[in-house]
């Protein structure tokens, strides 16, 4: 692999466009410019929060409809210069991903199933009319970014390095249409825990607040799915809840919570113990990587029936009343697996706000805890699961 500094490249007189490629950006063309300044971090991992402290470097790649992908750069983390007419700022032509790297107990850095994130990013790019790229090349670049900032990966199993690949439209033309210029970027942030799990997560379920719809883009990680949820999150907070739980349609299918997938462990109407999560084929919810992992683990353990089936709010309410709901939890890259302790349901028919207590925290099985610790063991290398752990060679 050839890596030369930007200055050296200029001295050699490489015209930058001669190294452009159409099908994907190429790791082989990478140019690294080192940051001389270092970011200072709080020493207490509890103070890290989520996505507040950024690392020293970032990947920055430009794309142009004529030239294709320009050589990728790793450069000091710094502001973008964006034309005020860029489509990303007006029409939300932007997509992103979220994945994590962990500093293992053996001193190795592992990234959790990154190829799944890159595959999803490419599917999202197609829907957002942004250019495609090669999964392998993207993974090599992310490896390199982690290597360059390896000392930023927190050496504790209470924190991790959050990786945020993104792509957005940058052309300077206000017409609504495909962008002739695009930027692919990736940076990392040092991350502590997303929730306070001790008291469980509280969700607000209001059928009048809708996240996605058939024929829309709910299954893609496009920026546009998030903006409308911010106000709803604010309303949830006003009601003492942490997140909104999203319901869909007349029969109020339970779909997602906040920006996470959700699972319920219950005794179903057929009196079977069942782990249930809504299916992704409706197009209403994001096919989460943690979701997929939880399903795979649960099927492997074979302790219960595992179903990807829709369930409605009224089924949930009835099951809570009949004490058939044992655990309810959310899953996501930022949150890992998080227990839900309460759902505040705005029941429009009965005109009441009903507080549903979910006994997740006191359940005998503590299935969510087992999932959480197994995932954590895999993340931090206490358990070997090679096909899920991409080791970044230092």
């Amino acid at each position: 692999m050839q890596k030369v500094s930007l200055a050296l490249l200029k001295r050699r007189g490489f015209p930058s466009t001669s190294r452009c490629t159409h099908s994907s950006f190429q790791y082989a063309n990478l140019v690294v410019e080192r940051n001389t300044k270092k970011q200072r971090l709080p020493s207490d991992p509890d103070k890290l929060g989520f996505g507040r402290y950024f690392s020293n470097h970032m990947i920055d790649i430009d794309w142009d409809v004529k030239e294709g992908w320009f050589p990728p750069k790793i450069r000091p983390f710094q502001n973008f210069s964006i034309h005020p007419a860029a489509k990303a700022l007006h029409y939300a032509q932007q997509i992103f991903e979220g994945l994590k790297a962990y500093y293992g107990v053996d001193g190795k850095i592992r990234v959790f199933r990154p190829e799944l994130n890159m595959e999803r990013m490419r599917r999202t790019a197609r829907r957002a009319t942004l250019p495609d790229f090669n999964t392998r090349e993207a993974l090599l670049l992310i490896d390199e970014l982690i290597r360059v900032d390896a000392d930023m990966v927190p050496k504790t199993d209470q924190a991790s390095l959050y990786i945020r690949p993104m792509m957005f439209a940058t052309d300077q033309n206000l017409g609504i249409g495909e962008s002739s210029q695009v930027k692919w970027a990736c940076f990392t942030a040092i991350t502590g825990s997303y929730f306070n799990y001790d008291r469980g997560i509280r969700l607000l379920a209001d059928p009048e607040m809708v996240r996605s719809w058939k024929g829309g883009v709910g299954q893609y990680k496009m920026g546009c799915n998030y903006a409308p949820t911010i106000f709803v999150g604010k309303m949830a907070a006003m009601h003492g809840c942490d997140q909104a739980m999203w319901l869909s349609g007349e029969d109020r299918l339970v779909t997602e919570a906040g920006a996470m997938n959700l699972f319920m462990l219950w005794t179903n109407e057929e009196n079977e113990l069942e782990l249930i999560t809504p299916p992704t084929d409706s197009g209403l919810l994001l096919p989460g990587i943690t979701r997929q992992t939880v399903l795979e683990l649960a099927r492997e353990w074979d302790l219960m029936k595992v179903s990807e089936t829709n369930f409605t709010m009224s089924q949930l309410v009835r099951a809570v009343r009949e004490k058939r709901v044992h655990e309810f939890f959310v899953s996501g890259t930022a949150a890992n697996v998080g227990p839900v302790s309460e759902i505040l349901y705005c029941d429009k028919e009965r005109e009441i706000m009903e507080k549903l207590h979910i006994p997740t925290m006191s359940s005998n099985m503590q299935f969510h805890k087992r999932l959480h610790s197994t995932l954590s063991d895999i993340h931090y290398g206490r358990i070997e699961k090679k096909e899920w752990q991409r080791i970044v060679e230092l």
Binding site: G49, F50, G51, R52, F54, M58, F77, N79, F80, S81, I82, H83, P84, A85, L89, H90, Y91, A92, Q93, Q94, F96, R126, R127, A128, T129, R164, M166, N173, L174, G175, I176, G177, E178, A185, A189, D206, P207, E208, V210, W213, K214, G215, V217, M222, G223, C224, Y226, A227, P228, T229, I230, F231, G233, K234, M235, A259, C346, K348, I352, M353
Partner: protein, 415 residues
């Protein structure tokens, strides 16, 4: 009255709804009286704080020789306005400076979670050489509503209009001296704080760019073909279709490509089981027909379900139509079956979009995807051969008002 009406009667909020809405209502926009009373940068920025940085001689661009040929959104004037906000101090001083790139943190919410909204409005150089804005308070009121829904900061309309006026003074030579051209203005508000949590922005930036646009119809009206396919959706109840948030546009780009691949210029957005007509491209939709009771009627879909952007041109056409009193003017839900039936019975005379860019845009054809047969049907709309000239009269009147040939009280703001 057709049966369809009862099915789509406005949903009244029941007790719970109103209780939840009550908490939202606390976030209502600040009324003007409060702004006048006291200087409070938590509520708005102020025109009196405006800082102007004049362009150096090298920074001024050459104006295009023939403005009528300018395409939308490709050419920008010399200046832009910017104004920063943060949760702690409120709005900073608004600035007018030479247009240039914005410095945006890679973690800014605008680049990840589409924390962004905009407006589109225009300034015109009248036949008397005076520059006027068309109903800017309407755009500003909508921008304020959108800001609340997008959890971005509120501001005062009149302060904003005063700042826009200042911009137009500086860039007055960019307002083309032609009664087919105008200066498009794009106020934008984005969330800029660099934290990755999906939540309220604690920092934001307002900016405005402007640019001259040429004749939309350089060779007379061009009827558009629409792709009508209910497998694609623009907006839904409980969503944000009624607000000018950036997030409503990104998903439409791919659908627009689908339409283009079928030789259609725009998408006719349908909603629900009955395939109700909602919008066309980024415009509102109007239909002129003889209804089943035999009345001549102008119809546009209503706003109450939150599926439709309350367009300023839409509002203007409704007001003019009602003022003229030549036909019935109705805001009601309309579905594809009704359109097809009216076409078959030759009762449908005109269909057109309405928007800031074009005023009106005639529809010539609908390529309708029949979801039962899974086949495409071509529906020809006789807008261009209509003997009633409803769309044409709207176009002429709005143009006359915008270029100062006729006065419509309260619609034009002189600079």
């Amino acid at each position: 009255m057709p049966a369809i009406l009862s099915r789509v009667a406005p949903r009244t909020f029941n007790l719970i709804g109103s209780r939840l809405m009550a908490s939202a209502a606390r976030l209502e926009t600040v009324p003007r009286e409060e702004i006048d009373k006291e200087y409070d940068r938590k509520k708005t920025f102020y025109h009196r704080d405006l800082e102007i940085q004049l362009a150096g001689p090298g920074q001024l661009k050459t104006k295009p020789l023939d403005p009528t040929k300018l395409k939308f959104g490709h050419t920008y004037a010399d200046y832009m306005m910017t104004c920063d906000w943060d949760a702690e101090r409120g709005w900073h001083h608004p600035k007018i400076e030479p247009i240039g790139e914005l410095k945006i943190h890679p973690g800014a919410k605008v680049l990840h979670y589409a924390s962004e909204l905009f407006e589109g409005m225009k300034a015109y150089r009248g036949v008397d050489n005076k520059i006027r804005m068309f109903r800017p308070e309407k755009n500003m009121a909508r921008m304020k509503r959108t800001a609340i829904r997008a959890a971005l900061p509120d501001f005062d309309s009149e302060e904003m209009i005063s700042v826009l006026t200042e911009m137009l003074r500086l860039d007055q030579e960019w307002v083309p001296a032609s009664d087919v051209c105008s200066l498009y203005m794009r106020p934008t508000l984005i969330g800029t704080d660099p934290t990755l949590g999906v939540g309220c922005a604690t920092e934001a930036k307002m900016f405005v760019i402007t640019g001259p646009v040429g004749a939309y119809y350089s060779t007379g009206f061009q009827p558009v073909s629409l792709l009508a396919d209910s497998r694609f959706i623009r907006a839904f109840p409980g969503g944000v279709g009624a607000y000018k948030m950036g997030c409503n546009y990104a998903p439409t780009i791919w659908v627009g490509k689908e339409a283009a691949s079928k030789n259609c210029q725009q998408v006719l957005w349908l909603y629900g089981e009955n395939e109700d007509l909602t919008e066309v491209g980024t415009m509102n939709i109007f239909l002129f027909w003889k209804n089943e009771e035999g009345d001549m009627e102008l119809i546009t879909p209503p706003l109450h379900r939150g599926l439709i952007l309350p367009g300023v041109t839409r509002d203007s056409l409704l007001e003019l139509g009602r003022e003229w009193g030549e036909y019935k003017v109705t805001e009601r839900t309309l579905n594809m079956q009704e359109v097809k039936k009216a076409l078959a019975e030759k009762r449908l005379y005109e269909m057109f979009g309405s928007g800031t860019a074009c005023v009106v845009s005639p529809v010539g054809k609908i390529l309708y995807h029949n979801k039962i047969t899974d086949e495409y049907e071509e529906l020809h709309i006789p807008t261009m051969v209509s003997k009633y000239g409803v769309m044409q009269k709207f176009y002429n009147t709005i143009n006359d008002i915008q270029y100062g040939r006729i006065i419509k009280d309260g619609w034009m703001r002189d600079i």
